[in-house]
């Protein structure tokens, strides 16, 4: 039986840093329609923040004039979040997901590590020159209520 879709959002925004916070707050507000605990909410916020930051910094090389799309689907016990850009793409996804791999010396290369730690599923689809799509699944209530 398929799960009932309780709510969904679709937005597209400019690739500027301010929209990292906006995405985080938007997804957190949507997820708050479920009965989730503080840890789950904080974990979801970090995972979304990392995915959107990656799209802006890596996908678009911090160019502010591109578009990032965000989709979030709310189910009774989980939330699915997809962040997509049509930027440079990732040549080697496995390598990009390795801890401490970073193209910037002042970044720790932990973006994907945090997504993997704070979301229950992370799927990355990417093609060099065509963009990257990151899908996060966060299950709600698996740790019991706070």
């Amino acid at each position: 039986m398929t799960k009932p879709l309780l709510n969904e959002i679709r937005i597209e925004f400019k690739s500027v840093g301010e929209n990292v916070g906006l995405s985080r707050i938007l997804v957190a507000a949507l997820a708050s329609q479920l009965d989730l605990n503080v840890n789950e909410l904080e974990e979801l916020k970090v995972a979304v923040s990392e995915a959107v930051s990656n799209a802006i910094i890596h996908g678009y090389g911090s160019r502010p004039d591109r578009k990032v799309s965000l989709a979030a689907d709310l189910y009774p016990d989980e939330i699915h979040v997809t962040v997509a850009d049509d930027g440079v793409g990732i040549e080697d996804i496995q390598k990009a997901m390795t801890p401490a791999y970073s193209t910037d010396p002042e970044r720790m290369g932990l973006g994907f590590v945090f997504m993997q730690s704070f979301a229950d599923q992370v799927e990355v689809t990417s093609k060099p020159g065509e963009g990257t799509r990151v899908r996060l699944v966060k299950r709600i209530g698996k740790d019991g209520a706070d």
Binding site: G17, V20, V46, E106, M108
Partner: protein, 118 residues
């Protein structure tokens, strides 16, 4: 995000509030580096009491400032981080490199002890 800087006893105390994400981290980096250029600070205390959120962008700037303090043979202490910020710090693996204190007062006491040991 607001960043305030206070220099005392060879230590730079940097207070920050709001969110340590892509935007907040960049603001913090600019202010902290300006202060490190101006003041002859050896140690740094980051007061995170009013910090509400941190992701890997925030961690990156903390690590960058840590390297600068290490180059001055100083100590970096983080004070007052909330539980969710602490979890991000733990996961990053940088905890062994940084002193974590419950409060700014504890951080001052720690630095005073370290100064005596030298």
């Amino acid at each position: 995000m607001a960043v305030t800087v206070h220099f005392e006893k060879n230590t730079l105390l940097v207070r920050t509030d709001g969110d340590f994400d892509l935007v907040g981290a960049e603001e913090f980096r600019a202010e902290a580096d300006r202060a490190l250029d101006v003041f002859p600070a050896r140690h740094m205390i980051l007061d995170l009491t009013r910090l509400t959120f941190m992701d890997s962008s925030g961690l990156g700037v903390i690590l960058g400032r840590l390297r600068k303090i290490q180059a001055r043979r100083g100590t970096m202490a983080l004070a007052g981080a909330n539980p969710s910020v602490l979890r991000v710090l733990e996961l990053s693996g940088i905890m062994p490199l940084i002193d974590i204190c419950a409060s700014v007062d504890q951080a001052w006491a720690l630095l005073a002890r370290k100064e005596k040991e030298v």
